[in-house]
Symmetry: C2
Subunit: 204 residues, 2 copies
DNA sequence: ATTTGGTTAAACTATTTGGTTAAAATGAAA
DNA sequence: TTTCATTTTAACCAAATAGTTTAACCAAAT
């Protein structure tokens, strides 16, 4: 009467689903392809996750949980804005280089399916900007930073760090880079982007 | 023996296909849905465009042609880098506000289908960065700009202008904005982003 | 009026695909 | 060894979907 619950199978499915969904999206992915990748009978996908939507949600939630908490912790530590920016830029680029499909996957599916961003907001570790915003305002008041709206600054930081992964194909043709050159380019952004931002906002 | 060729039908199809493909992507779009939207028999889609792939390509090519040539002309006019940045930021944001699905559509499908970016490069009006790059290098040498790699600057400009549209759902929850607030936020970026960039790169 | 090339609609086809089912295998506990 | 819940497999199924075919339609040319 004891459950055996081969945790391994469930993980194999999730791992395979992650690959397929991230590469092809919800609509482009095929349940059979996921099953094949996991070396498992297709019925198992339904046994463990009921249907495609729920399997997808599980994958998405896991992907989002990789991104959000670290962002949250950087945003809320006790360092200065300048340190936060340098820290974030370096860490996130390093992380994204290891998970290049992630940004596109999340942005894409969020644009496609608006309602399920609401569910995410409840999740623990969902980024909270309050501290960051008051800190920016304070440093502006103290004269450490030039006047800037904290939301604008936040979006600028994210944009400069995330876009290069979203727009990889565009960047490669526009700037005539092969894969190696692109990788070097990204690598150097770990510090270049931080400098670019600090240059712009730091008081002289 | 004369052809009647109701040009209108073809345009209706393209218009409907544009809407559906941009909202749902290649995989999520349904030929029947496109036909319904165009108020036309599904067989017409195949009569005019042969198959789904070719219809999609036509839509994509048209979308890309909306984006690329204006970028090219701004990049290659005779104004200074600072003017180019202000000009581009304002014009592109205005344009994107009228076509909010466009950036996501292009980025998405380019990431999905790597090979057809090659075809685009042949198209006339494909952006050429040479003049922009030499101009940046020159202004750096003249001391007008602080030292910066022209590719990095280019990507930063694009990132700051395009990301806010790609990441609309993310921005809305992270910064707690409803649709109106988001729109105001974007509107103010028409000048804020240019200031942000100029602040960073202009020599003091 | 008839022919003719191009256009449109309706019905149809073949295949793919998400999901189901029923039976077989597995393995821990009694 | 028997029992019995849990896990796995193979065969199915119904709906959806891209694409095809065939015949009707229409406007202009003869």
């Amino acid at each position: 009467m004891k459950k055996k619950r081969d945790k391994n199978t469930e993980e194999q499915i999730l791992e395979a689903a992650k690959h397929i969904f991230q590469a092809k999206g919800m609509d482009g992915a095929r349940m059979q392809e996921i099953a094949d990748k996991a070396n498992i009978n297709k019925a198992m996908l339904h046994y463990y996750f009921r249907n495609k939507k729920m399997l997808f949600d599980a994958v998405f939630k896991q992907a989002f949980s990789l991104i959000a908490p670290p962002l949250n912790s950087i945003l809320n530590d006790d360092s200065s804005i300048e340190e936060k920016i340098r820290n974030f830029t370096s860490n996130y680029t390093t992380f994204m280089m290891k998970h290049p499909y992630l940004p596109n996957f999340i942005v894409q599916e969020l644009n496609r399916n608006g309602d399920f961003i609401q569910k995410l907001k409840q999740a623990t570790g969902f980024p909270n900007l309050d501290k960051f915003k008051t800190q920016v305002d304070k440093e502006v008041l103290l004269g450490k930073l030039k006047p800037i709206d904290s939301d604008q600054l936040f979006v600028n930081i994210i944009a400069l760090n995330v876009f290069p992964f979203l727009g990889k194909p565009l960047i490669k043709i526009f700037t005539n880079k092969d894969d190696k050159a692109y990788e070097d380019f990204i690598e150097s952004r770990k510090i270049e982007v931080a400098n670019f931002i600090i240059n712009s906002i730091k008081s002289v």
